[in-house]
């Protein structure tokens, strides 16, 4: 079979290579973009259509143990949104937490071809990999939860920096992760061991070891920097969701100094006001800091109205939110490593806080000056489903539409923000940056997010429509690694040869001797059974290069 394709006369958006809506051809061979193809190549006429790289979701929750608990929790939601079988694809269930098959297909129908699972506890990382294998089409990777790992915390507290760095590298290898995820550092121990308390501040000392969240964050930033991972630590800051938390967020970003840090779903960390009272917008303070500091990248975590599902390793927050409606709630503690909270939620336009959260997210998008460092996300499913992305794009691209939407929301919230004054409208090129080129760059994925020669042929072709929601909701063609999956809006084949993206930094094998005694004492699985075999990658693991740097502590 001829595996060459020529996409002819499309309006090409490839910001990475400086191409902004220029008519041209794209050539594909053996799953990659090439400079030319033979005459016999299949031709796709893309005249008048926008050709973009496949979307890259930098932060979502789509596979792994907590996702599956949330799936099991919501039969009433699946029931309303069946995902039908077709001759080429399998059936599944939709809703706010779709089944794995439905997740893959639905990402593809938005033109997304890569999605990173943002939080997986190491002990259950096998589960995440198993689900990834059952999530068709999209390439995945995941961030491993390490900030509340008791063994790593003890190394930090004892100042054993070198061993700490080696142990982090060991954990990344053992779990096949992409980078380190820090969630509410220091918060698990008071929650699990001290009758459901939480840390209150970034400099609050944990009750167990003499360690502040700031010290934990700093240590991970150092270690990840020195290991040279392609993506920096991905942080869910302390005090997420609380009024007045923007101070904590800025302090967290300051902790990074000039080293890289990715602040996840920053909208949830951009609130002014007094703790315990209604929040106010601090989008200005936050974006001012981000605009001035090129080492910081973030994704927004836009809130969209309707169903959502809190699904986070920040267990105390979930329990706090449960207090409002006493909804069904799941808490899942993972020994020595992590916590987890799950709670169904509903964002309503008439509720002051929810409307304000929506506005703050949009303000952050509109106030930020560098689209390369701000990524579109809804923290799926925490701020709403990933299926809202086209709507978010329309909100960003259409000032009149935004004004109209604001009329139907809580007016007290709208009046307290500057959203109405922000007339900026995102261009198609900027949308292409915040959904594709930018996240690929933040992640250090050199083969994704662009259409230059050598890139993966993950390509989406959209009809140019005035209604941008409609446009981004239904690409005419979607291609994964050079294989045409969606043609004229219909699935013409399934694609299961997807890849798992991960890192494999080198480490000193002797670190295992340091880690093992802790396992023998406090874990419920054997040390030898903890690291994950390559078999779980099903031959599809892609190791992204790491570049080891000199120790910061040597310099000091």
């Amino acid at each position: 079979m001829n595996n060459e394709i020529r996409i002819k006369n499309g309006i090409v958006f490839d910001p990475t290579n400086g191409i902004e809506g220029k008519v041209g051809d794209i050539f594909i061979k053996d799953g990659k973009i090439v400079s030319k193809v033979s005459e016999s190549a299949q031709v796709i006429d893309a005249k008048g259509m926008a050709v973009m790289p496949g979307g890259v979701d930098i932060h979502c929750h789509i596979t792994g143990p907590k996702v599956n608990l949330a799936r099991k929790l919501m039969p009433e939601d699946h029931r309303l949104d069946p995902h039908f079988k077709t001759p080429n694809t399998q059936s599944g269930s939709g809703g706010i937490v779709p089944s794995t098959f439905a997740t893959g297909y639905r990402y593809a129908t938005l033109g997304y071809t890569t999605a990173m699972e943002a939080a997986v506890p190491p002990l259950t990382a096998r589960h995440a990999l198993e689900e990834m294998y059952d999530t068709p089409i999209i390439d995945n990777g995941f961030y491993v939860l390490l900030a509340n790992n008791l063994f790593l915390q003890s190394l930090i507290a004892e100042g054993r920096n070198e061993e700490f760095k080696e142990a982090v590298a060991w954990w990344l290898n053992a779990t096949k992760a992409y980078t380190v995820k820090l969630v509410n550092p220091g918060g698990d121990e008071p929650w699990k061991g001290h009758k459901n308390l939480n840390v209150k501040d970034i400099d609050d000392k944990s009750k167990v070891v003499d360690l502040s969240p700031r010290k934990v964050i700093e240590s991970f930033i150092d270690a990840v920097h020195e290991l040279g991972l392609p993506h920096p630590p991905h942080i869910h800051c302390n005090n997420l969701g609380h009024s007045g938390n923007y101070d904590t967020t800025i302090e967290t970003m300051k902790t990074a100094g000039d080293r890289r840090l990715h602040v996840a779903h920053i909208q949830f960390n951009s609130y002014a006001g007094e703790l315990g009272k209604s929040p106010k917008s601090a989008s200005k303070e936050i974006t001012d800091y981000v605009n001035d500091h090129e080492n910081i990248t973030c994704d927004v975590g836009q809130v969209m109205f309707g169903k959502a599902m809190f699904m986070t390793a920040d267990a105390p927050l979930t329990y706090l939110l449960r207090g409002y409606k006493k909804e069904k709630w799941v808490n899942a503690d993972t020994e020595c490593e992590s916590g987890c909270g799950i709670l169904p939620f509903d964002y309503q336009g008439m509720v002051y806080t929810h409307a304000l959260q929506w506005a703050i997210g949009l303000e952050i998008f509109l106030l930020s000056k560098d689209p390369w460092r701000i990524v579109l996300s809804t923290d799926h499913p925490n701020g709403g489903s990933f299926q809202n992305y086209p709507m978010v794009m329309k909100l960003l691209m259409d000032y009149e539409f935004r004004k109209e939407a604001m009329k139907h929301l809580n007016q007290k919230a709208m009046n307290s923000t500057i959203l109405g004054e922000l007339k900026r409208e995102y261009t198609l090129n900027e949308i292409c940056i915040i959904t594709r080129a930018g996240p690929a760059k933040c992640l250090g994925l050199k083969d994704k997010g662009h259409l230059g020669v050598g890139a993966d042929a993950d390509i989406t072709i959209y009809d140019m429509l005035d209604d941008k929601e409609e446009m981004f909701n239904a690409p005419r063609y979607v291609m994964k690694a050079g294989q045409l999956l969606i043609a004229n809006h219909e699935f013409i084949s399934d694609y299961t040869d997807k890849k798992v993206l991960r890192v494999a930094p080198e480490y000193d094998r002797d670190i295992e001797k340091v880690i093992k005694p802790f396992f023998d004492d406090f874990y419920s699985v054997q040390f030898a059974n903890y690291p994950i075999d390559d078999e779980y990658l099903h031959g599809t693991g892609v190791v992204i290069e790491t570049k080891k740097k000199k120790s910061i502590h040597e310099n000091k």
Binding site: P82, V330, D333, D521
Partner: protein
């Protein structure tokens, strides 16, 4: 128990360290197996409990055909073709079992039923199905077993007998281990057993509550009411068979512990009240979080029933009792659970994987599944009444002994197996991979409109 006599010198010996026992949901992964590779038997299973020893040491490679149709030996591929044809031609095919095989094999089950428009169900529907339904209703605060070992100072078992069903549960996870904040093991814990009779488990209890049979819900609800500030009623003894003072004392202990856990078994889920009982217990654990950290966990039975729950959930959105006849998954326990589809004589083909309904189900269900109205296909590692009654019977190798793969411990922790020795029989994974491929081919050939169905 061992097949090899103790005096025989083993020439070709192999040691498998950190092997996992898949007999029960504890999935202990610290077993050291000594294998006689010539005789293909395990001679020692160090650290295994009595059930685990019996599981490992009694495993022999039997001399029997791999595949049979109507009792006659056939090549494996013929049996798979026959099975695929039966499933595709059936009006109401069902698939049941899955709890004693690896996740990699389980992953093929829902797609097979998706292609033939059938119903998939696991053994969960006859054990902790009610807990699964209760979970959908109220959620659950829960944990991995290591948290219990490290932190729990209050441990309760409700309606279960782990001393006999999960023998290492006490020593490895919940009662005696010395953990991070429980350095003195059992001395640091209050152990409470609630049951209708004094079992072997009750022997370890600091407090044993003997409940009037069928009154689980009443006692749970009293404790929930206590969480909300209500008094334990004066006639507590008449209601549930336990003295008021005992319940009051118990409530204080639950409220004042640092990390409390309740394990519950089928004594709770399969008595009157079923998912209301499980739901009440999960809700009680949730309520107690107002005072302290409290969690609950069903004590699951089979080696990988938890894996079956997980796989079916991630593929379909629902844990068991899922029907594909309308071209997408639908969940309805009672309608699509196997005992019911068989008792009502609806199923006309049944694919049974790694379980034995003919030995365990109610009589009307057995009568139907063994009748000529229902074509029975069995994939199992041993000869069972089900495999003997089956029209198509395929023998497979045993997970955890002959084949590797993934199992989920009762607390959803995935563990990789380390097999001891090869088997001449194909693995479940191999058989189901072939069957899925064949069914998929047939379904494409049949070119049915995909959202039709035969059964509505």
């Amino acid at each position: 128990m061992s097949v090899a006599s103790k005096n025989d010198k083993i020439v070709n010996e192999k040691i498998v360290e950190n092997a996992t026992c898949t007999f029960c949901g504890c999935c202990c992964d610290d077993i050291t197996l000594t294998v006689d590779m010539d005789k293909k038997v395990i001679t020692k299973a160090k650290d295994a409990c009595v059930l685990g020893k019996s599981w490992f040491l009694n495993h022999v490679i039997e001399d029997k055909p791999i595949a049979r149709i109507a009792g006659k030996e056939v090549p494996l591929d013929d049996a798979i073709d026959e099975a695929a044809n039966i499933l595709m031609e059936a009006k109401f095919p069902i698939l049941y079992g899955m709890s004693d095989t690896i996740c990699e094999a389980q992953r093929h089950c829902a797609p097979i039923m998706d292609d033939c428009g059938g119903t998939i169900d696991t053994t969960t529907s006859v054990c902790h199905g009610p807990s699964g339904m209760a979970f959908q209703g109220v959620g659950e605060p829960t944990m991995t077993l290591g948290e219990v070992k490290n932190r729990a100072d209050f441990v309760m078992y409700w309606g279960g007998n782990p001393a006999e069903a999960h023998p290492r549960h006490f020593a490895r996870y919940a009662v005696t281990p010395e953990g991070m904040y429980t350095p003195n093991g059992k001395d640091d814990r209050t152990v409470v057993i609630v049951d209708i009779r004094h079992t072997k488990t009750a022997g370890v209890a600091d407090i044993f509550l003997q409940l009037t049979p069928g009154k689980d819900f009443e006692l749970l609800w009293m404790l929930r009411a206590a969480c909300k500030g209500f008094e334990i009623p004066e006639d507590c003894k008449e209601i549930c068979g336990v003295d008021k003072e005992v319940v009051e004392d118990l409530f204080q202990k639950m409220k004042n512990c640092t990390y409390g856990v309740i394990f519950f078994g089928m004594g709770l889920t399969m008595t009157r009240g079923r998912h209301f009982n499980s739901g009440a217990l999960m809700a009680l654990a949730t309520d107690l979080n107002e005072f302290t950290h409290f969690v609950a966990k069903p004590a699951r039975g089979h080696g990988n029933v938890t894996g079956a729950d997980n796989v079916v959930s991630w593929q379909t959105g629902y844990p068991f009792g899922v029907n594909f006849s309308r071209g997408h998954p639908r969940f309805n326990p009672g309608e699509f659970t196997t005992v019911d589809t068989l008792s009502r004589k609806e199923a006309d083909a049944a694919l049974i994987i790694a379980s034995d309904p003919v030995a365990n189900f109610p009589k009307p269900a057995i009568d139907h599944i063994t009748s000529d109205k229902c074509k029975l296909i069995s994939i199992d590692t041993k000869n069972t009444p089900t495999s003997e009654a089956a029209h198509v019977s395929i023998q497979t190798s045993t997970y955890g002994i002959n084949t590797g793969g993934t199992v989920y411990r009762m607390d959803d922790v995935p563990i990789s197996l380390r097999p001891a020795f090869d088997s001449p029989f194909p693995s479940d994974l191999e058989v189901l991979t072939k069957l899925r491929k064949k069914v998929n081919e047939l379904s494409k050939k049949a070119n049915r409109p995909y959202s039709t169905k035969k059964y509505m």
